[in-house]
Amino acid sequence: MAVDTSMPILVVDDYKTMIRIIRNLLKQLGFSDVDDASDGTEALSKMRSRRYGLVISDWNMEPMTGYELLRHVRADGGLGRTPFIMVTAESKTENVIAAKKAGVNNYIVKPFNAQTLKGKIDAVFSA
């Protein structure tokens, strides 16, 4: 199934540089409607005011981490089915297991490249 490149995507990261990098990678992959948030709290607020087709989130943020955001999203009846990819430097097995148990759709370890990002987006929407 082809991925809808017009869908709005929310990128969540506390590093502006990282948001800029992911934005440009997504743009290169054909996604033009990209929004961003600097932590889970802001992301949750944006998600409640707009329906996103995909969330790409870092883990290690304050005051609300990406892991907390994921759990909030999955527990929210209106947002619970939103595809969610974790893009993070947190690469301990316990992190991956916890994210998987919390309902993440895919998991990318930083640093990564455009091909890896494309592969995971494709995998999420073909599942």
């Binding site: 990261d13 290169q28 892991y67 430097a89 301990k92 640093p111 995998a123």
Partner: protein, 204 residues
Amino acid sequence: MTAATRKTRPDRPPDSADETVVEGMLRDEILSIAADISRMKQEIGRLRPGEIRQSHIPEAGRELDAIVEATESATHQIMEQAEAIMEADAVDADAYRAAVQAAAMGIFEACSFQDITGQRIGKVVETLHLIERRVSRFIDELETHDLIDATAAIPEEPETEDARRKRELIVNGPQSDGEGIDQDDIDAFFGECSAQSDIDKLFD
């Protein structure tokens, strides 16, 4: 007769009242010094120097090494992409445009080192703060406390709110080479272990 000689023969009566006073003062001073030494030993124990030397400092060193490697690798990658742009043949406009775009993507990918090195530096700063806290407490204890029972067990340092939050929210930060799980392993995990029962097996 010297004080040392008298010390070896405690049953001998003092020669004078003055000597008795001096002996008493000396004994009190020595006891005071002994108590101070005991207290310092106790406080040095609370610094947990072994833990700092064997765990925190080496870990901080590994983080700094990883930062040096990451910045060097990113610099090379950015320079290679810049060289690719400089060497691209501009005769074919479409090919040139594609080459420049590919190089620009490579530069963006390389710039992601900033996020990871930022997190690594954060871990080093945490180590410095931990040492600072313990040394400050050590100084405070020496300045303000009287005799502490040297035989008392060294209490565990209470977990800070920040440490508790990181533990509960599984915030580990970037792993060093060979320590974390790599992307291939994660892909296999997501591809092969989609059922809850498979996840549960990882806990057996």
